[in-house]
């Protein structure tokens, strides 16, 4: 080889070797830094324990892997459930909802409802301060709710939840009157949702659009930092002493630091728990739930969410699905038990009603009311005059019996796999299912209404959620949710009654009628109740969940077993 060439290759080699060394040293210094951080925090925990002899040293740091990134940490502007998981740590709400759907005090100590049920008078706690030092007063409540109505805020889900709010009236520093345009049974439970959490008026006014990046609330944790698509860090609010009724620890949380890691890839998220790089991870796929449950090093939490279960809506606008017999045939041919058992391996519960079991008014008499029966389904389609064609697909007047099944991508909770199974099951009754998996559900379903079956679910705290999906007034609205295009005066009337009925028992009866009507008329095929699942290391103690299935970190501490 030519000497100069030789030298060149040597230079190249050494350059490569050098760059590797630099890379390696970079990695190792990063590691050692992290370890240092860890050991100092460990020291602090011990010191705290020695301050209070006798009590167990509760503390530690927790990292919690989220499946997606929150859009904003501004409670009024967020449209995502994942943001609520973080919001719950930073903010408090006026009231909270207990697990049996009762409303309990939180920032409000008590409330009175006027006889026309259009005015709520809240008495407020007097010992609360926001993270920026602003004291919590009636003005903060008025500011927060008026902020939602202000078009400049561009409020998201909160705008729906606050309805039928009209105005707030400050009576004194710790008393606020809230006026509604119409009575609403859902109002108090909506106030318990994190989207209506009270923000610091000083900080929200100052930061404006940027408030979502610098959130200031009165919650058990204070915001530290948000690294886009990587992590959100919050730390203990040492002044916290106004914990709500659904947690045991009313004071400052035990955890010093809580890090929400954003890990969209399922396998990586769970791998993180399995390799102990994170302490907990949310949304565990069924196959891994079984695997982790059998491993003594891990614990799996599974909380059924309330509202509307995952439901297949049959679009009645399109023949032949406008006919009850055709819809009944689908109801009988789709073997929901087989779908839920096969895909979710017994980790999800089958849904029977348009409402989830934890929701007020749930009718448990509907359970086991529908049994798969292919013969009966075939007989119904025969009656309608659909006869089997040469390729076993039914035909009538030269038209094939097809069903357009539209589902969104990506394959969330194996919903696309449900479509694949329904397709096979409907083959048995001679229905040709055209499955469309699309990223563009908005234009195909919401705008063009080009579907016979579309599936959806909604987490909600009140059966009022039924209005959005089954009341005929919703049908022609923009961003429609009345997927079945149901137009039933009876159902409309019941839903309207349910909104204003004050007697809880009577209200439950009304919603039971709605549920019965929907199932008896095969308006929908309920599939599964979605459980919010969290896999955690065994060292994570006392992780709890609120009525809607959102995690509560107030009581959590880390205790390694020897």
């Amino acid at each position: 080889m030519h000497p100069s060439r030789l030298m060149k290759s040597w230079q190249l080699m050494s350059a490569i070797a050098l760059s590797f060394l630099v890379l390696l040293s970079g990695c190792s210094s990063g590691n050692s830094q992290r370890e240092n951080q860890h050991s100092t925090s460990g020291g602090k925990v011990k010191a705290q324990g020695s301050d209070q002899p006798g009590t167990a040293a509760k503390g530690g740091q927790l990292s919690f892997a989220l499946a997606t990134s929150p859009d904003t940490l501004d409670p009024q502007r967020t449209g995502l459930a994942v943001a609520v998981r973080v919001l719950r740590t930073l903010y408090d709400t006026l009231v909270i909802q207990g697990t049996d759907n009762d409303i309990q005090p939180s920032l409000a100590t008590g409330w009175e409802v006027s006889s026309d049920r259009k005015t709520y008078t809240f008495k407020l706690r007097q010992d609360v301060t926001f993270h920026d030092g602003t004291p919590f007063k009636a003005e903060a409540v008025k500011f927060t709710f008026d902020r939602i109505l202000d078009p400049a805020t561009k409020a998201s889900n909160s705008a729906q939840l606050i309805k039928p709010y009209a105005s707030s009236e400050i009576v004194d520093d710790y008393t606020v009157k809230i006026h509604l345009t119409t009575p609403s049974n859902a109002f108090l439970s909506n106030l318990s949702q994190a989207q209506l959490a009270i923000v610091s008026p000083a900080a929200a006014a100052k930061d404006g659009e940027q408030f979502g990046k610098n959130p200031i609330g009165s919650g058990p944790f204070k915001f530290v930092e948000w690294q886009e698509n990587a992590q959100i860090v919050v730390e203990r609010n040492p002044d916290y002493k106004w914990g709500p009724g659904n947690v045991e620890n009313k004071g400052a949380p035990y955890l010093e630091r809580l890090t929400f890691k954003i890990v969209p890839e399922e396998a990586t998220r769970l791998g993180g728990v399995q390799s102990k790089q994170v302490d907990a991870a949310e949304t565990v796929p069924p196959q891994n739930i079984l695997q982790l449950k059998s491993d003594p090093n891990f614990q799996v939490f599974s909380i059924n969410t309330g509202g509307l279960p995952y439901t297949l809506f049959i679009n009645q606008e399109n023949p032949p699905w406008n006919e009850l017999k055709a819809r009944k045939a689908l109801q009988l041919a789709i073997d929901v038990d087989a779908i839920v058992k096969t895909l979710y391996l017994g980790t999800y519960d089958r849904a029977w009603s348009p409402l989830a079991p934890t929701t007020l008014g749930y009718d448990n008499t509907l359970e086991n009311g529908v049994k798969a029966d292919v013969e009966k389904a075939n007989a119904l389609l025969d009656e309608l005059g659909w006869k089997a064609g040469p390729d076993n697909i039914r035909e009538k007047d030269g038209k094939k019996l097809t069903l357009r099944y539209v589902d969104g991508s990506p394959n969330r909770e194996k919903r696309n796999d449900i479509a694949a199974m329904v397709q096979q099951q409907l083959k048995k009754i001679g229905v040709l299912t055209e499955v469309t998996i699309t990223k563009d559900v908005r234009s195909i379903v919401h705008e063009q209404s080009n579907y016979d079956i579309h599936g959806n679910s909604q987490v909600n705290s009140d059966p009022e959620a039924l209005r959005n999906f089954y009341h005929s007034e919703i049908k022609n609205m923009a961003g429609r949710h009345n997927y079945p295009a149901l137009n039933s005066p009876e159902v409309d009337e019941w839903i309207n009654q349910g909104t204003v009925e004050t007697d809880k028992a009577k209200r439950e009866e009304i919603y039971k009628k709605v549920q019965h009507y929907i199932i008896d008329n095969a308006v929908i095929i309920p599939i599964y109740v979605f459980p919010y699942t969290v896999a955690a290391l065994n060292s994570v103690q006392d992780l709890k969940f609120d009525a809607l299935g959102y995690p509560l970190f107030n009581d959590v501490y880390i205790q390694n077993k020897p």
Binding site: A267, T342, A420, Q424, I437
Partner: protein, 299 residues
């Protein structure tokens, strides 16, 4: 023609090893021959799967035996069953059709388009050559998989769109090779002789230039087949493929991915099928290159 282009055009030809002693050569050849026969057998089997899957697969690929989900390989299910209870071997057999089809169709489309552009640019020369080549160079600045991803995402999922997406990134390669070949043939004395006796240009192109230039494209196409199959499976894996009752291998791979720690066989066998197919095609492509290499036959 720049020096760089001529090197590119000849790159396919210049990878021959220096002549070695006859004995060693023959031993080497017997090993490589065996590999090629094995590859040929695998390829034949996969083609048979695509043509007559019903003769090979023991089950209907859409049949969901929900009482037998996630069974490990062995017994009545050679590759085990997936989370629907489908027989993975049968699904893989039926899925070969789409994978192979995407590969062959995109190579064919790329060859036709690239070949036409290359021939036109090489034979016409001048401003046409300049414009076409600059356009292709723009196309070449975008990495192949990225281009395919962008096109597949923009056009939406359908078999034709996948073929377009995969073939487009291969077009510049074919065009440049054919252009280089044609330019080198164009200047040879026998072409000048044909010109001098008054043969029309088109006739010279069709009878003398093209037959002497297309051979490298055959080799490139064979090797490109492997890449295309891989890229097509990649697009399906990423959810940009066609959603059908019978999934192709890329889709199977992505369905099995979430189950790697509980049911390894769900992703492993479709993955092996892709690997085997691409490996076989590449081995045969290599052999073909050796055979068609002018230096090799001369030596």
């Amino acid at each position: 023609m720049s020096a760089k282009e001529s090197v590119l055009a000849k790159a396919v030809w210049q990878e021959t090893k220096p002549a070695s002693p006859a004995v060693r050569n023959s031993r080497k050849r017997s090993v490589s021959d065996f590999l090629v026969y094995a590859a040929g057998a695998v390829l034949l089997f996969i083609v048979a799967c695509a043509l007559v899957p019903g003769w090979i697969a023991p089950y209907t690929p859409t049949e969901m035996l929900t009482d037998r989900i996630m069974q490990p390989p062995g017994g009545s299910h050679l590759f085990g069953t997936d989370y629907f209870g489908r027989d993975i071997f049968s699904v893989v057999v039926y899925g070969s059709r789409d994978s192979l089809l995407i590969g062959i169709a995109s190579v064919a489309a790329g060859l036709l388009a690239g070949g036409a552009i290359g021939a036109l640019a090489g034979y016409a020369g001048g401003i046409i050559d300049m414009v076409l080549m600059r356009l292709l160079e723009i196309l070449m600045t975008i990495p192949g998989i990225l281009l395919a991803l962008a096109i597949a995402a923009a056009l939406g999922p359908s078999l034709a769109n996948i073929v377009i997406a995969v073939s487009l990134s291969a077009v510049p390669g074919y065009a440049r090779v054919l252009r280089g070949q044609i330019m080198s043939i164009k200047g040879r004395p026998f072409i000048m002789a044909a010109h001098s006796i008054g043969t029309p240009g088109l006739s010279i192109f069709l009878r003398h230039v093209l037959p002497n230039s297309w051979a490298p494209l055959l080799v490139m196409g064979t090797i490109g087949l492997g890449t295309s199959i891989l890229m097509g499976s990649g697009l399906s894996f990423l959810g940009l493929g066609v959603i059908k009752e019978v999934p192709d291998w890329g889709t199977l791979l992505s369905q099995g991915r979430g189950y790697l720690t509980v049911a390894w066989w769900m992703a492993t066998f479709p993955g092996m099928a892709i690997t085997l197919l691409v490996l076989s095609v590449n081995l045969i492509g290599d052999k073909l290159r050796d055979r068609l290499d002018p230096k090799h036959t001369r030596g």
